[in-house]
């Protein structure tokens, strides 16, 4: 954003990625195995949050059903891995299934020029219908290849293995490395994507769709593009999730999880990438802690958090901090002529 040099505008992204790399290599030496396994699940959810941060924060697309692509990816991976007898192709299939479904759904939504509110509600409805559809597949007649879909109880997911070597499956610590690496790669990819021409046009459409169209950009195609890409990232999260948990159940599609995804992005801040990731880790530990007591219900707390942020901190934590830091830094550098930066510009750097 500063001088048009892509490396400069990506500097914060690279810094955060480096912190992630350090954590990835030191984590298993410092933390216990139980924490590592828990963290793997949190990392998978962070990838999901990242995908929503991309499509909502930068594409301006209010997708309430990001968990649909996440869950679809997890199911596609599990069913694929059972049928192929290895995870290599299953991962690719999972991403492709998720992207294909998003592209199909997105075609109807974006080319029908469905408005914001409708879009959110339709994607949410799709998620809920997945939930009730898969819940009812418990009979032995519901199977794809060798994989029973298993209805309410879900399916046990085969573990990841080294590429093209199904016998060399990974241990939980190794899955942690893979998950962390995937998160960092997805984060770098998203950070890079929003600095490209494509990403900038998407941000332009978010800011003013009509103006972007008058400049000659077909907003439908760009929206479809970013929607599909984010579905692919969500599928990566899904693959990691079912590896972290060990199985996949229709509960991923329920209303609670759909709301949770939205809450991560609201709390972290729309228009940033690191904010939602950080919020995911924070809220993951909050809900785990709440699960240990029975006085306050999880739904109650999350509902209160969502209402609190919508009413009082609508920008989310990361942009608020960035805005605060930027306003503190300004007086210290009186000589440098600063371009007028909005909060959003600052936030976009993250």
């Amino acid at each position: 954003m500063n001088d048009g040099n892509p490396l400069n505008s990506m500097r914060p992204v690279i810094i955060f990625a480096l912190i992630g790399v350090i954590f990835m290599f030191t984590g298993p030496y410092v933390l216990q195995l139980f924490t590592i396994i828990n963290l793997t699940t949190a990392i998978a959810l962070a990838v999901l949050a990242l995908s929503l941060a991309l499509v909502w924060g930068f594409g301006g697309i209010l997708c309430f059903g990001q968990v649909a692509f996440f869950g679809l990816g997890a199911y596609a991976y599990t069913i694929g891995a059972i049928n192929f007898g290895g995870s290599t192709w299953a991962i690719l299939v999972s991403i492709m299934v998720s992207c294909a479904f998003a592209a199909l759904l997105g075609y109807f939504i974006f080319f029908g020029r469905v408005s914001d509110v409708y879009l959110g509600v339709i994607t949410l409805t799709v998620t809920l219908i997945f939930f009730s559809l898969i819940r009812r597949t418990s009979g032995p007649e519901y199977k794809i290849g060798n994989a029973q879909i298993g209805g309410f109880n879900g399916v046990t997911s085969p573990p990841l293995n080294l590429p093209w070597d199904p016998s060399a499956f990974l241990y939980p610590e190794q899955v942690f490395y893979v998950a962390m690496a995937a998160l960092i790669i997805c984060y770098l990819f998203c950070g890079w994507l929003v600095t490209t021409h494509f990403g900038r046009v998407c941000v332009g459409i978010r800011e003013n769709e009509l103006r972007a169209e008058l400049l000659g950009y077909d907003s439908r195609l760009y929206k479809l593009g970013i929607f599909t890409i984010s579905a692919g990232i969500a599928a990566v999260g899904g693959v990691l999730f079912c590896n972290g948990v060990g199985r996949i159940t229709p509960d991923v599609f329920n209303l609670y999880n759909a709301a949770l995804t939205i809450i991560w992005v609201i709390v972290g801040g729309r228009g940033t990438l690191i904010g939602p990731i950080a919020a995911t880790f924070g809220l993951f530990y909050l809900t785990s802690a709440l699960g240990g007591q029975s006085f306050l219900n999880n739904n109650l707390v999350l509902g209160a958090i969502l209402i609190f942020f919508v009413l009082l901190v609508p920008k989310g934590v990361a942009p608020t901090i960035v805005g605060w830091v930027a306003s503190r830094r300004k007086p210290r550098r009186p000589t440098r002529v600063r371009r007028r930066t909005s909060l959003r510009d600052e936030a976009n750097k993250l």
């Binding site: 939504i109 408005s115 306050l296």
Partner: protein
């Protein structure tokens, strides 16, 4: 012949059921162009009102037809005053706030009543016979109530002063407030009315479905699709949406089972929105309520 009659009865019941669960949502959507994501929880609260009242010894008819809409209507007004009115003009934030409300209500009811079913109540009417087939008398009752509700709402909107003000605010809020109508008050009343109708629906459905804190989720997918496909006209939208989707759902459910019925409903709605992005009433029945 009897079989045909029985199937038609089921089809009409499916349509009426869809219309009943969607009407309250449609009132709020028609007025404010906002989808109330806590709609399912308003239905749930209606159900709980009936269960708590009947357990306390209140007559079930009074509990269903009077207490449920009253209690949920009052809750609706409180919610509007405390939450929604700060967010007018910020549609996305309103959606998110009602979603937060939805979670909050689920959590609250779970904390008070526990996560499992409170006492179930059995449908108060017996069985009616259609030739060789039998149908539930309560289902017939629900069809009749839905029809009465539509007529009553039509009369309110068309014949009363409140209805006139509401229609005016719906068409052009700035102009109505310039003419001295308090739009915030209109919004408050319509939100309460929508919540009340939703509470009535929840109360009426409690004997059929039972009540759970999370029961809302089973209704909302259908209600959302119906309202969105119907478009922003309250009565014509809900009616056309329910007839189309209820019909398709019924036919598919009859041929293949309930799961495919719901999927067919969704696919129809999505294809419909590709053709008519503003719902059925965005293209047809434009002049209707």
């Amino acid at each position: 012949m009897d079989l045909v009659a029985a199937i038609i009865f089921q089809l009409v019941y499916g349509i009426a059921n869809l219309a009943l669960i969607s009407l309250g949502l449609a009132i709020i959507f028609g007025m404010m162009r906002v989808i109330n994501l806590a709609h399912g929880e308003f239905l749930m609260l209606g159900g709980y009102t009936v269960v708590v009242a009947t357990n306390a010894g209140v007559n079930i008819w009074i509990a269903m037809l009077i207490l449920a809409p009253l209690v949920v209507g009052i809750i609706g007004v409180i919610v509007e005053r405390l939450l929604i009115r700060w967010l007018y003009g910020r549609m996305v934030d309103t959606l998110l706030a009602t979603w937060g409300l939805s979670l909050l209500l689920i959590g609250l009811v779970t904390s008070i009543f526990g996560a499992s079913t409170a006492t179930t109540i059995s449908p108060p009417l017996g069985i009616i016979r259609i030739g060789d087939y039998s149908a539930s008398g309560y289902e017939l009752f629900l069809i009749v109530v839905t029809a009465i509700l539509f007529v009553a709402l039509f009369a309110t909107l068309k014949l009363t002063r409140l209805g006139l003000v509401a229609r005016g605010t719906m068409q052009n809020p700035e102009m109505s407030s310039a003419l001295g109508v308090s739009t915030t008050r209109t919004y408050m009343i319509t939100f309460g009315l929508g919540a009340g109708v939703t509470g009535l629906a929840g109360g009426l459905l409690a004997p059929v479905t039972g009540v759970l804190p999370s029961i809302g989720a089973t209704y909302i997918a259908k209600a959302f699709i119906t309202v969105i496909s119907g478009g922003s006209a309250i009565l014509a939208g809900t009616a056309s949406g329910s007839v189309l989707l209820g019909g398709i759902n019924g036919i598919f459910a009859f041929i293949t089972g309930p799961t495919i019925g719901e999927v067919a409903l969704l696919v129809t709605a999505i294809v419909l929105l590709r053709l008519m992005p503003r719902g059925i009433t965005g293209r047809f029945f434009r002049k209707y309520l």
